[in-house]
Symmetry: C2
Subunit: 100 residues, 2 copies
Amino acid sequence: MVDFSKGLVPVIVQDYNTNQVLMLGYTNEEAYSKTLETRCVYFYSRSRDKLWKKGETSGNILKVKELYLDCDSDTVLIKALPEGPTCHTGETSCFFNQIV
Amino acid sequence: MVDFSKGLVPVIVQDYNTNQVLMLGYTNEEAYSKTLETRCVYFYSRSRDKLWKKGETSGNILKVKELYLDCDSDTVLIKALPEGPTCHTGETSCFFNQIV
């Protein structure tokens, strides 16, 4: 069981094949249930304040291969197969801005 | 520049050598500055409500090798060299509870 007592729960998405971290989004009870049910990644969009199927407009969906909870059940890790680039900028991963 | 306008910022820690996702913590301005300055991972502990050097009691520190921001600068990804297991349970990674 995911612990939603502190609010939205962060979801790390990692590429199932390459292990590259692709993005981080947030989930709530509804988005988490839809993800398990459909095996496609759903988030709760903080900016639009609503359920968001990743790729619903771009087509760049994320297919769930494995899903893990962390030791205190307040973070989700999904290993997924991405269809197309994950970042809205067209990059494979959202983490392309290297500081160190 | 990290965007702290929405509050604490999640930090994904990934093993520099294996690409395994080890844990997720949170950072604020102080923890982020200390991380850059010392090249050891500092978090802001939500439960203890204070700055927390990962490994300060266990010795299981995380040495920063690379650090990335995501496309909207509100998530940090650190590739680190862990000294010892990262999870307080003794597991290598906090994500040992597989759901799918």
